[in-house]
Assembly symmetry: C4
């Protein structure tokens, strides 16, 4: 309870909207969760031509209802938080803002209402309701491992991009327009489709030489998929090892002792 929170109504609103400790706060979050899911579903359904034509007025009114509800929620959040600026420019503040703006934009720009699916990101906030701390922990382990392997993965992607540009141009020269390789950017697109083993088949080599080069790329792509996997595996194994050895010395507070340690390796304190 910060001293700023003198206005008791504002503070009460804050505990309801931003926290999930009270019953009112939990109810608010569950209702919000359902509204977000429903609103995303409506956007998805509206994009189906037949439905959109048959139920146009219904979709419009539902969409505007959601937008008005979320707008009120957004304004209440700004009003109730003790640090409005910090909220507005936080990750969730921006997501909340982007979740309402496309409907207003759709008055001017036709089609922009489909961007409302950004609302799906608001679901990330819901983790809090279910006290999904376990999942958040797991998520942090994953994101920590990914961050630690970022440099290696950047180097890997950089090399892959160089390869893709050169091979794409080669395929353009070899195959030409007859097989659908109508330009170097399109050839590069094809190379990415092949190297990642997606293989749509909208463009496929037709000449023997092109098929030979394509075979080499595929075997290469098959092999190099091992690299990011290896990187992430090693990082995850490392973080796994580190969490297994995280006893703290009560004397000097140094971390990283194994579970069966008898002495602190830093100050020699006996456990």
């Amino acid at each position: 309870m910060t001293p700023k929170a003198k206005n008791s109504f504002r503070h009460k609103l804050y505990t309801i909207i931003f926290e999930a400790e009270t019953t009112a706060g939990k109810v608010f979050d569950v209702v919000l969760l359902l509204l977000i899911l429903l609103s995303v579903l409506v956007v998805c359904l509206e994009s189906i031509k037949e439905l959109a034509i048959a139920y146009l007025p219904f979709f419009r009114s539902v969409e505007w209802s959601f937008t008005i509800i979320f707008t009120i929620e957004y304004l209440l959040r700004i009003y109730s938080t003790p640090k409005p600026k910090r909220y507005i420019f936080s990750f969730f503040g921006i997501v909340d803002f982007l979740s309402i703006i496309p409907t207003y934009l759709s008055l001017i720009l036709v089609g922009s209402q489909y961007l409302l699916v950004i609302r799906v990101l608001r679901l990330l906030r819901i983790a809090r309701i279910f006290k999904l701390t376990r999942f958040i922990d797991e998520g942090q382990v994953l994101s920590k491992a990914l961050k630690a392997s970022m440099n290696k993965i950047m180097v890997f992607i950089g090399v892959v991009l160089l390869v893709v540009v050169i091979v794409g141009s080669l395929m353009y020269v070899i195959e030409g327009e007859a097989s659908g390789f109508t330009s170097i950017p399109k050839s590069i697109y094809w190379t990415i489709v092949t190297l990642t083993t997606v293989g749509y088949g909208d463009i496929a080599p037709a000449t023997p030489l092109g098929q030979m080069l394509a075979s080499c790329i595929m075997i290469m792509g098959y092999g190099i998929i091992a690299v990011p996997t290896g990187i992430v595996s090693v990082e995850l194994a490392r973080s796994d090892r580190e969490t297994a050895a995280t006893r703290v010395c009560p004397n000097c507070h140094v971390e990283g002792h194994p579970a069966d340690a008898n002495f602190c390796f830093n100050c020699g304190h006996m456990f």
Copy 2:
């Protein structure tokens, strides 16, 4: 031999049907195995139009024969087991029930007989005949590792689903109906097809911007396939480490002796 099993015929039936220790029990299981395989094969073959038309009466009679045999077996299982309720609602009890019901349903609902392939699940029961305990052990190691990594994989799939919804909508806005992205659900389907590197090619981006975004998704999908692999590898390595219990010398505390060691390889201390 529980006191309930007083009715000796019922108990004998139980040992034949549910166990595989006696010769009769083994014969029963092998015959059942063959019947299950045959019945699944018949369902598969019946679905081939030309065969179904040419041999309709044959298929019908064979199917009804299998169903009647399996129905008798099901009733005998209920009769012979000391705890019928527990059997009926066990995994295998439900599978056994689902293995006979579609044929009866097909009298009312045309086409439901194809659901008879659920019989294939009954094969899981057969592991017992071959004393495939080794395989069951391996299966338990696998399922334990998968269970342990469940939380991490759920977080991973959750994030993937969020990405898929947003990217799918973006592709719908960028590509539009001309390239087959006729609605957001269809775009989401395409995004999953691409991210998992399946790449049917029934829908493929045609505009340069769409192909650029698709390329990013592919490279991303290529990278993030590393995450579940890393998770499972680490879990399997952990369970592997745990089973290979490393013995410690009580004298010098050096680790890594095999379970059947007689002396410490470091200090020569006798175990």
Copy 3:
């Protein structure tokens, strides 16, 4: 030099054909290597319609020449080896036999000459020339790791096959013939194509329900590819660890001591 090898010509032939220690033996192996590669190339080229028609007599004569040479070699191998039966039924003996028989068969059975590519397996024998022991070692590490993980992989493939049969039948019921799912076997084929992320696109779901189920299969396939990878990784890591600790006790010949061991853990012998 076994006592059987009294006939010195026969023994000399043996050292030339079966060994690669002498100069003559090396020359023989290099010539054989080139002949095998050439003969496989000829079979491949002959299958190209335009070439086959244009140069029919040439291909026929070349093919017969190769076959006659390889037949003579095969007969000489049987003649020179001290244990003809053991050679004939060894892996290489069978491969050598299968490498010549299709040409003779092609006199009766048109098209069987394409099976001559089995000759490519004879290249495995060539490893010996280059003293590729390093590669053979690596190959043994790999095959040992694969053998050790065989049980786990069998369980994995078994479960995958059960899933594939059930999902295939479900897709047949859902999609029907309109989308190309003309029978359950074809649906099972499609499920394998999808689960393994190959995704030809020759058959693709068209109904919303089918596409939803397909999406689930893809995400599942994407996840379970982690399982065999994890299994093999752990096996390879284990065999890597074990080769690092393979000191043998000179007293009792027990293996598996670490490189810095001072005593045998079995008999207590000091190193």
Copy 4:
């Protein structure tokens, strides 16, 4: 400052062109970076038919400008370096040469200007500007692990190629020309497309037998992708383990102390 570098102008040029310590050197490298990116972009755009026709004179003049600038740079590099021969035959010397020659060749050979994308390799040189030593370190760890696993991967690719030739021929015999398997080389191409899970769908089996064999190949391909991944993971884990040097207590021989430990965590011995 070698004694050869007496000609101060030449030496100054050397520090500007080859090094990035001085301000002038940095400016040179940044300008070069932009020129390379622009020139690759121009080559890519020129390959788009509509653009090429509309702005032909513009593209030609821009291309020639870049080529003349890079030619001058190439000549200055040869002039300023103290060891011209070593530069010319170094990796970057060859890349620099190949980056200018296609434009001159295009006067004789139409289409060769698309090979100018080789310029993209020159970007590798740019790592220096940003002092991307961290990335270079990561790159070295990766390439070291790849080199160490090269032998294993060669064995793996060798076995895959043998399998691919044999399976390809089998599919040619089974499927024949009706399904697009018009020759053995094309069948081999299809096998690679399938085994690597790319799956274009330009060629797909149509007969039941062919689809069965294809299913086997897919499941095999799905399984063996585990092999290179496992190899690289183990290599990366090994190099990771080696860098994380585990300190051993000289008193009780327990391992696993951090590099900056002062006491043994097991016996309390001071290091």
